[in-house]
Amino acid sequence: MENKGLTKVDLIFEKIDSKKVMVKAFAMSSAEIIQSMLDSGLKGRGGAGFPTGLKWKYTAAEKNPDKYIVCNADEGEPGTFKDREILDRVSNKVHGGMAIAGKAIGAKKGFVYLRGEYRYLLPKLMIELDSFHKMIHEIGFDFSIEYRMGSGAYICGEESALFESIEGKRGEPRNKPPYPTTSGVFEKPTSINNVETLVTAMMIIHHGAQNFIQYGTKDSRGSKVFSVSGDTPTPGIFELALGMTVQQFVNEFGDGDTKAVQVGGASGFCVPRKKFAETIIGFEGVPTGGSMKLFNSSRSMYNVLHNYLDFFTEESCGQCTPCRVGCQQLLKGVEKVKKGEAKSTYLTELVKLADTMKIAAKCGLGQSVGNAFKSIVGNFKEEIIY
């Protein structure tokens, strides 16, 4: 196991001359851009962690001349707020990253899907977008971006649900295959990338892939932005190299009494104190889109679990059986156990149900409800029962 410790990095918010980077990127061929992504080992920062270079490669290979690049700014995972901060501070880099992706895959049009909760950012973003459009017009690259707003539905962060929403429909995830790279928004080949992924991509073009891979580990290259909240004296946004242990993270951010860290939000994993030292933050350990929530010993893990289950019960799109009904059963189930109306052994049945949801649900939401459920129930069983 590689472990490089906790390293602070300044990449995402680094001040750059974005025109210069764009000129550099547009001078590269599509294949060269994709190759630098592959070389950098960059994996998507939206949570699923799919290699960005591959995603672009697949989309670039599609014959359909109408393609899209979509920036996923739906950031709904409880505990993440880094995309908002990125859009607030360096939206020029988000737009730039989209144009570079457009060049790589052969798209002339991009959409930013911004969650409704961040509408207050829109006036500022529109000004930024104007100057971006002027700039790439000057450079002579044919590419434009349009903002589409969400309206309060967490599931619209799931890529195919997001496409449905852009198309004016209910945000219900689609069957896969086909994958977005062949049939995405408006059924056209689409590369959908997280806000941070796009900025990182731009910075990789700027500094080169070699600079990026000095951080992180073999499975988790580079650095990323963490959203730190909960019981911590220093909540906020921090850019750190991947591959540290939860212990190292807690040493930096904990309040001295941390009993658990929820990594990756409600759909992520709960790491209890006894596993801090052995758990790596990254794709080889606990992956995260950036959400890091710390809980100290004053917190009831039953409340945490209940809050998450309540969240999923509401935010499931509701179309598929395992997720729609499964969430309700898990929620009602833990309530009954807590109240003593169901035997504690009922938790075993619920864990089995969570396992079924993991393999039977239609999309990532239903498939990841079990992560938090199993890791909290598994590690804090007494708190759930008594």
């Binding site: 409880p78 969650r115 909760e117 539905a153 967490y154 004016g168 429909k169 730190v228």
Partner: protein, 154 residues
Amino acid sequence: MYQIGNLVKELSDKHGHARESLMPILQAIVQKHNYLTDEAMVEVARELDISAAEVYGTASFYTFLDTQMKGKYVIRVCKTITCSMKGKGDIIQTLEEILKIKVGETTTDRQFSLIETNCIGWCHKAPAILINEMPYTELTPEKVNEIIKDYMHK
């Protein structure tokens, strides 16, 4: 009816008559009128040539596209874990006291509606709320008092 018809017409001329225009149009109506009346949804259905049930079905999927009456200022209190750990309960209680309504209700003068919502992306500054589209963070009952007073005088 007449008025909403004009607005919907204006909006669909601006955003287009394709299905993809549905969300922007509904969002714009909500920004202006706080919620979607049945008349508004019927008008939108007519303009976009889709069924009213589909307009309703789509709107009701999105928590911000309210199809029930809402006040001029919709207060959304984050109820997700960090806010809930950091005093969301006090915030709700304060709001209920000032506005004399419960969660889910609208003041009789139709100025304020109070509802709960899921994580709004300000967990590091919990507890947080949205009033229409403006976020307010690191709230205390005192701060909430001041903010609402300001809105009352708007």
